[in-house]
């Protein structure tokens, strides 16, 4: 049975990147490492320009994740929904690969008769409830995001409420871009609880540029440092099930 963990990057932004590497390429790099990238585009009265929209869809597509464009009011509901959907998608990918190994090349869940599909779905549901989940949240803090940040904070607290209702463990980390000194700044290290965000978020300053690409790259390395640290501490090589979607 599948005992790995699911790793995701959740990017919350309101526009196009304008500095550093191509974020779509960085998302593809994430996917290669078994990390899916989900993107949520936040609108207010304004509409995200077409260029931004294409980039958002592009990042999610090459990152093997889910994207959604929403008005700020609907952010809470969307953040938890997207995270869940992406998680189920990943599990389905894994289950599909297992099925292909058992039943032959072209078989996926959709090819099974509806009766059998129900049983597979029960397994997917069960895994979604119990699997370990790591979510790295990347928040765009460019100037235009300034007055949306309180809503983003609410949505993240709501996300931890949803995910912590599961039986499986969760780990969250929060990064913002641009940071005070660098392109990206870590504001919350890996933790099972997001509550401590409340105080940190009120002190955030917003900057001018949007270095989405470098932000994703840095986020990736954070997954790595976490992993190596853990294997150092436990002394053995934990076998992580790498996923390529």
């Amino acid at each position: 049975m599948y005992t790995g963990k699911i790793r995701q990057i959740l990017l919350i932004t309101d526009g196009c990147s304008n500095q550093g590497e191509d974020p779509i390429a960085m998302a593809a790099l994430a996917k290669e490492q078994g990390i899916s990238v989900n993107v949520i585009g936040v609108m207010e009265q304004d509409v995200i320009d077409e260029k931004g929209m294409i980039e958002i869809e592009g990042i999610a597509m090459s990152g093997g994740g889910v994207s959604q464009i929403v008005y700020a009011q609907a952010l809470s509901q969307t953040v938890q929904m997207v995270t869940r959907k992406a998680m189920t998608q990943t599990i389905q990918g894994v289950v599909n690969r297992e099925l292909q190994q058992i039943l032959g090349r072209s078989q996926t869940i959709e090819d099974l008769p509806p009766e059998k599909r129900g049983e597979v779905m029960e397994v997917v549901d069960e895994l979604g409830e119990t699997v370990e989940l790591e979510v790295l949240i990347l928040v765009d803090t460019s100037a235009s995001m300034k007055h949306k940040l309180p809503t983003v904070k609410e949505a993240l607290l709501d996300l931890s409420l949803s995910l912590n209702a599961r039986t499986g463990d969760n780990q969250f980390a929060v990064f913002v871009f641009p940071g005070k000194k660098n392109d990206v700044e870590k504001i919350l290290d890996w933790t099972p609880k997001l509550q401590s965000l409340t105080s940190i978020f009120s002190q955030l300053t917003t900057g001018g540029i949007t270095p989405t690409g470098p932000a994703i790259r840095t986020a990736l390395s954070s997954f790595h440092s976490k992993r190596s640290l853990r294997s150092l501490m436990t002394g053995d090589d934990e076998s992580f099930l790498e996923e390529s979607m």
Binding site: V70, A74, P114, G118, M121, E129, N164, A165, T167
Partner: protein, 339 residues
Amino acid sequence: MMMNHSLKSRCKVAPGTVITGKWHSNKYTVLKELGYGANGIVYLAKFKNSQVALKMSDNGMSITSEVNVLRSFAKVQGSTLGPSLLDVDDWNTKTGQISFYTMEYIQGADLLSFIQNKGKSWTTVLFLQLLNDLNTLHENGWVFGDLKPENLIVTGPSPKIRCIDVGGTTIKGRAIKEFTEFYDRGYWGLGTRKADPAYDLFAVAMIMINTAYPNRFNKTTGGILQLREAIRKQKDLHPFEKVIVKALEGHYTNAVQMRTELMSLALSRQNPGSVPKSPPTTANPKDTNQSQKINYTGSPPKTRQNYRKKKKKGRLAETFIIAMSIALLYFLYIFQKLL
């Protein structure tokens, strides 16, 4: 709001389209669209001279998941909350395979418009029915999850509440699969999103509030204070305040408890809708007792205090008489000695 272009376009089917199942080869003729949600579109369809509801979705897994829930509902004896499942199949189209299932067509008005048309006296009856069905569901290890008025249909001829969307139904103890913020206790900061019976009962209480606020309202401060304030502002909700608040605060661990208390409220109310806000000061003890039951939780009924006060007064008078008679006797004795 959400943008689901892809879903709407792929599952959008014109009336008259014939949908043939890939596995069971049943033919369904689409009559009209009944509604759509986050997980797909529901159509009214004709199958061998009978009408069925047909739900299809781009996301085959969400269809499978709902079918699983409907299947397990079928195993529950006496449960009539959800629609009964008729067929599950796939439909091959030019753009690819679309999963669908058909179920019993539940016809009727949604809860809020039914109450609006037929009058408030139906409210309690329908909620008692709902709580009864929820209890059966809970006893079989499920929690409904996404309970809201849009999902509740009142069918006839004798009005019966039914549920048309089981997409949020979750196994007890797991994380709630799907919810709508206004009816979600997590959103109001009044609890977790773990599936337990109290989660559904919170939603029932919010639907009760919803009957007085058809347009809902937004979270400002959140928490129990905002909701209590909302109840206070609507006269129609006052009779139910006790039950609503208890459900919001999670004091009921099962639907039967809430049902029993709602029932006793309904029976104790003589003229529905016109219950005095504060206990009347009239001497009629029967009257006082009743409004007490409705308006206050916790504090003991005042009539008993009155009784005790009376008792106290009686005791005082007794002491006074005894003291007086002793004083009188003593006075007589002194008077006699003096003489």
